[in-house]
């Protein structure tokens, strides 16, 4: 037990040894989560409330960051936008992880024709740019938060499939797998109780790193107008709505974009730190 604790301490030390940047990134993520939870408490307006007499108002005491073209408070929409971003990234990463891990395990364990079929389909999917794939899928699945999450989940899934496939191929040759086969354990038990737990470190690292990618894809889709539909306050669509007023009110599109950037970078940096803490050998691979 003590040994386990030491390893945990060691991991945490490495996590923060990257210094101030990792700490700031970590703080940004904590802030994002808090804002997403407490959005209704933090502001007196609701995210779709329109003040038509105060369209495109400048920042003032009533509207701390001003209002958009429909007289909606920008700060309120930013706070609620944090909710959407967080929801979209966690949900789509979960979808990608669950489905991707399953396919990766199956493809690696039954490497015969099932494996080939899964891996060739993955190759086919990777031959399309992620954003193009998202766009085509989004047309089919619609613009709700859940639809967008499924789309993004499918799009980032191949990463999991390839990674788990590779790991399972290597693990399969180990004695403990051969031994469990010899004592007659069923395939799915070997998959779930022996192969899957051995992939956990990689899965945790990939999951953290994908959160940022998912936010980026979600905001890009929303920016193009095929992601989460109005009036839901997604940061990406706020950027594109504000873009029309760039000359007069530049902050309407620049601030939401800045939020996307900060959050994505924070997730990427924390993802890197988690990777170095859990398994430094993955550096350069993930």
């Amino acid at each position: 037990m003590k040994k386990k604790n030491d390893r945990l301490n060691q991991a945490i030390r490495v996590f923060f040894s990257r210094g101030i940047i990792v700490k700031i990134s970590f703080a940004i993520i904590v802030l994002l989560i808090l804002v997403a939870i407490f959005a209704p408490v933090l502001t007196q307006y609701t995210e779709t409330e329109q003040h038509l007499n105060d369209k495109l108002a400048k920042p003032s005491k009533t509207y701390l960051l001003g209002t958009d073209n429909l007289g909606r408070d920008l700060l309120t929409r930013l706070l609620y936008g944090a909710r959407i971003s967080l929801e979209a990234s966690v949900l789509s990463s979960l979808i990608a992880a669950c489905v991707g891990i399953m396919f990766g395990l199956v493809a690696g364990y039954y490497s015969g024709w099932i494996g080939s079929v899964i891996m060739r389909l993955t190759d086919a999917q990777l031959s399309m740019p992620p954003l193009v794939l998202c766009m085509v899928l989004a047309a089919l699945l619609g613009g709700g938060v859940v639809g967008v999450c499924i789309v993004i989940g499918i799009t980032i899934m191949p990463g999991y499939i390839r990674m788990i496939y590779g790991q399972v191929l290597a693990l399969r040759e180990n004695d403990f797998i051969v031994a469990s086969k010899l004592v007659g354990q069923s395939s799915w038990k070997i998959l779930l109780f022996h192969l899957l737990p051995n992939c956990f470190p990689t899965i945790i690292v990939m999951f953290t790193m994908n959160l940022g990618t998912a936010i980026m894809l979600e905001s890009s889709l929303s920016f193009l107008g095929i992601g989460i539909k109005a009036p839901t306050p997604a940061w990406g669509s706020m950027v594109s709505e504000g873009y029309n007023y760039l000359v007069m009110r530049p902050y309407l599109s620049i601030i939401p974009g800045l939020c996307v950037m900060l959050v994505v970078i924070a997730f990427n940096i924390v993802g890197d730190a988690v990777r170095d803490a859990i398994d430094p050998r993955l550096r350069g691979k993930l």
């Binding site: 060739r120 399309m128 740019p129 996307v260 970078i265 940096i269 550096r283 350069g284």
Partner: protein
């Protein structure tokens, strides 16, 4: 080697085939009748039926797929419902715009990315490495649409150095082209420079720590010669893969960049086509895009096989 090439060709064909089936079935799963959408809600049922027959929509789905794919192979992509013109003409007209933004972006990214990566690896741990590594982290995490809009705000609206939007062909007026293309190329290349630099750095570090580099140093080979002749050469192989992967990102990025800068290229076309259910344009574009990436990957695989015989054996 011949077996290796044949295998790669077969796999490439399989991938393109899978993509064609995927994009075809997806567009046919979409709700709504394309003929009805093309003619509008007021059109009579006879007209809609006539258009359906003309577009082969009344035939069995397998026949439709066969007609579409055999048309594609003959160079006949069908007619667009939105633009009422042959899809091929539209693509041929728009492709140069996307290429004239994408290719410069790709070249700039490869050159700068490799230079930054090498500098970081050689000066590992020094201030310049730390700063460049931090900048690449920022570059990877910055949304293209944000860079584009910030660029427009700073350079076009505030400083008035560059035009806000639009496109001029390089053949028409090269100076105007460079002015119009500067921001789009910049927005497109930032994240690519960052990811190439990152990959180059980590590959270069792997190579620098290997025995043959130490031997070269011990033998008194000049430092610059070690880096360029020995280390970089061995790093180039994985970098080629990254560059091939960036081709995909250029196309994906053109969706965003063409939207911001109002350039009527392939990315903008795809956006309009998806929103208007113009399924022939979507199918053709998706197929062509995946064909381009598959060809790039194929070229890389063959190049790999030529350079490194081990890969021929294991990957074959």
């Amino acid at each position: 080697m011949v077996r290796f090439i044949i295998r790669r060709i077969l796999i490439s064909f399989l991938i393109v085939f899978l993509v064609s089936v995927f994009s075809f079935s997806l567009m046919h799963l979409l709700p709504g009748d394309p003929a009805r959408i093309a003619l509008g809600q007021d059109a009579s049922q006879e007209d809609v039926d006539a258009l359906r027959a003309k577009m082969n929509l009344d035939k069995p789905i397998i026949t439709q797929y066969y007609l579409w794919i055999s048309g594609m192979l003959r160079g006949d992509f069908g007619d667009s419902i939105v633009y009422n013109r042959p899809v091929r003409d539209i693509i041929v007209q728009r492709l140069p715009k996307t290429v004239s933004i994408g290719v410069p972006a790709l070249i700039i990214s490869v050159v700068l990315g490799i230079v930054f990566g090498v500098v970081c690896a050689v000066k590992r741990g020094k201030a310049i490495d730390q700063i460049l590594t931090f900048i690449t982290t920022l570059g990877i995490g910055t949304p293209q649409f944000w860079i584009g809009i910030l660029g427009i705000y700073l350079f076009a609206i505030k400083l008035r150095w560059l035009p806000i939007q639009g496109y001029v062909a390089p053949s028409e007026n090269f100076f105007e082209y460079s002015k119009h293309a500067a921001l789009p190329v910049f927005a497109l290349s930032i994240s690519m420079i960052a990811s190439i630099a990152r990959q180059t750095r980590s590959n270069m570090l792997d190579v620098i720590n290997q025995d043959f580099i130490r031997t070269a140093k011990a033998n008194g080979v000049v430092n610059s010669s070690i880096i360029f002749k020995h280390a970089l050469r061995n790093t180039l192989i994985p970098i080629i893969t990254i560059v091939a992967m960036q081709v995909r990102n250029v196309i994906g990025g053109s969706l965003i960049v063409e939207n911001i800068f109002n350039i009527a290229g392939i990315g903008a076309l795809l956006n309009v086509a998806v929103n208007n259910r113009d399924y022939l344009i979507v199918q053709s574009c998706v197929l062509i895009i995946s064909l381009v990436t598959v060809v790039c990957n194929f070229a890389v695989d063959i190049l790999y096989g030529v350079i490194n015989p081990q890969i021929r054996m294991t990957r074959g």
